[in-house]
């Protein structure tokens, strides 16, 4: 045990943190995409695992073909819009349940992503040969670029969900019956929100591929879990810090911060020399803990067990006072 603790090097943790934060910012962008569907549309969209890879694959392939990295990411966003639209249409036109619709698209995207990468599982893109927008070679610049993108994205989302169209999406997610009665085409709104969300996720995929220097067929695996983790960690922390003052812009900011916090946790887990093959297990446990927090917080305020205890306490209280009254008489 002592040997284990003495083997932990704090300096190593500090030196790893910046890269963790840079990746966290990228996952924060991804989380903003997930937030749009998971929270605003009330639709757990599994497409994103595939879309994240699509974004990376499209970006890398286009950069290798000589495109400007930003233009390449623009096309990646378009590809994301398409994957989201496909899930939306499968759900609304064919009546397939939301989770299954996302899983089907994600499944199909595996083949499509391979095809995009010329039937290889992996495509490298080197910062030495191409002027990438973001790279792990220059972590500080990567963090800066990421944060600027996050800020622009939050501003855009804040504006969009305040417009008539964005409000209609939020209404669709909150109460579809009411939305229809108010003349909102809820099928269209669902497709639209899924498309936009996947566009954002594809952008995150494109950034991640450049950051790590390659696109990989498995790079998106489990990204829905990371996205949800970021959304929930961000919300829990945001509500803890700001409480009722947490407005929509604050919520979006904390979702992005959730991505960074999540990645810091992962860096610490790895630093503790826990077996990296067990990483997915730790990720799942982390997400489960944060998912449980709001529920357990509610339980601590009001639960059957508590209510049961209260009546026992009241009873003894009553018995005590009754006893006193008899004595007094």
């Amino acid at each position: 045990m002592a040997a284990y603790f003495s083997s932990l090097d704090l300096a190593a943790l500090v030196s790893r943190l910046p890269a963790g934060i840079a990746q966290g910012v990228i996952w924060g962008i991804m989380a903003l995409g997930v937030y749009m569907t998971f929270r605003l549309l009330n639709f757990a969209d599994m497409t994103v695992d595939g879309t994240f890879t699509t974004g990376g694959a499209v970006t890398v392939v286009l950069i290798l073909a000589g495109w400007n990295p930003w233009a390449a990411m623009g096309i990646a966003i378009l590809a994301g819009l398409i994957t989201g639209t496909v899930t939306g249409l499968i759900h609304t036109l064919l009546g397939i349940p939301s989770i299954l619709a996302g899983i089907l698209t994600q499944f199909a995207l595996y083949s499509i992503n391979l095809a995009i990468m010329g039937m290889t599982a992996n495509k490298a893109v080197s910062i030495d040969k191409y002027a990438l927008a973001i790279s792990s070679r220059n972590v500080n610049l990567a963090i800066l670029t990421g944060i600027i993108l996050v800020a622009v994205l939050i501003a855009l989302l804040y504006w969009y969900f305040g417009t008539e169209e964005g409000s209609a999406i939020r209404a669709t997610g909150c109460n579809p019956e009411m939305s229809k009665a108010q003349g909102i085409n809820i099928s269209f709104m669902k497709v639209l929100a899924l498309a936009l969300s996947n566009g954002v996720v594809a952008l995150a995929g494109g950034l991640m591929a450049q950051f790590q220097g390659f696109a990989d067929i498995n790079m998106g695996r489990g990204s829905i879990v990371i996205g949800l983790a970021a959304v929930i960690i961000g919300e829990v922390v945001g509500e803890l810090l700001l409480g009722k003052r947490l407005n929509f812009a604050g919520r979006l900011s904390f979702v992005a911060i959730g991505g960074i916090l999540y990645y810091i946790i992962i860096v610490i887990v790895l630093w503790l020399k826990l077996n990296s093959n067990m990483l997915k297990l730790f990720q799942a446990i982390t997400v489960a803990i944060f998912l449980a927090v709001p529920y357990l917080q509610g339980q601590s305020k009001s639960s059957f067990r508590r209510a049961g205890k209260n009546t026992v306490a009241e009873k003894t209280e009553v018995e005590k006072t009754e006893g006193r009254e008899i004595k007094d008489a």
């Binding site: 409000s167 209404a171 019956e177 009411m178």
Partner: protein, 264 residues
């Protein structure tokens, strides 16, 4: 004007749950008619309202609103012409959105949702005035989430939303049934005020025979998916609960089954 022409609807056809919910309903409401709808459970009252609203397509027959045949249009396309208030106070409003956001959504009923800002300053002042009419103090809580409101407040807000853009037809599906008597009366009074002020063509389902008699200029009774009684004008003014119970016994060939109707 609302014309319902010979509509039929069967749920779950060909199964053991087959239900002939509407069996040739004919109804014409003139502009400004305020028609109350009564009938036992399963008589087809809500089904008729849902048919008019376009919740699902009818099997046969036609629905014409203000001269336009809407039979082939889904609910969200008919919404431009129709205001609806539901039985469940949770149904008519978006709980996670603010009061003013809900009103703004309703103010755009029947219009394309653009990229203009969702609630403008000018609207806010207008909503404040309209909320004052409800007399519930909601005008001072415009940025509160609707989920924080009581059932009665939500129902009153839904009524306001349904009439914010003047509907060609207002559909009220037992909109006071889930409320306590005092709140129900408030909401009903607000309904009366709005309907009279805007001269709205209205269909109101109620289980309360007194309410059915006290409100509106016309009363229809449904049984087994048909309209079996249609009373209007002077005849309706002189109507009593006893008359209605008697009529029901005659029309349906049985005693009126609902205690609620007797007690109300």
């Amino acid at each position: 004007m609302l014309e319902v022409q010979n509509i039929y609807k069967t749920f779950n056809p060909g199964t053991i749950n087959e239900k002939h919910a509407l069996n040739g309903v004919n109804l014409t409401l003139e502009d400004g008619d305020f028609c109350t709808v009564i009938g036992g459970n399963g008589a087809g009252k809500s089904t008729m309202l849902n048919a008019v609203a376009g919740v699902w397509p009818v099997d046969s027959g036609r629905i014409v609103i203000d001269g336009e045949d809407v039979t082939g249009l889904p609910d969200f396309k008919r919404a431009a012409m129709i205001g609806r208030v539901f039985q469940d106070p949770m149904t008519g409003t978006a709980a996670t959105m603010e009061i003013e956001e809900n009103l703004a959504l309703a103010a755009r009923r029947g219009r394309r949702r653009s990229l203009h800002w969702g609630v403008t300053r000018k609207e806010r002042a207008e909503y404040r005035e309209k909320l004052k009419i409800l007399n519930l103090g909601l005008e001072d809580r415009m940025t509160a989430k609707v989920g924080l409101l009581s059932g009665g407040q939500r129902q009153a807000l839904t009524l306001l939303m349904a009439t914010l853009v003047k509907p060609k037809v207002l559909l009220l599906d037992e909109h006071t049934a889930a409320l306590d008597p005092k709140t129900a009366e408030k909401v009903l009074n607000a309904t009366e005020t709005v309907v009279n002020r805007d001269h709205l063509t209205t269909l109101m389902i109620t289980h309360n025979m007194k309410d059915a008699i006290a409100h509106g200029n016309r009363l229809i009774m449904m049984n087994e998916g048909k309209i079996v009684l249609d009373i209007r004008g002077e005849a309706k003014k002189n109507l009593t609960v006893e008359d209605l119970l008697h009529q029901f016994a005659v029309q349906a060939g049985e005693e009126f089954a609902s205690d609620k109707a007797l007690l109300g």
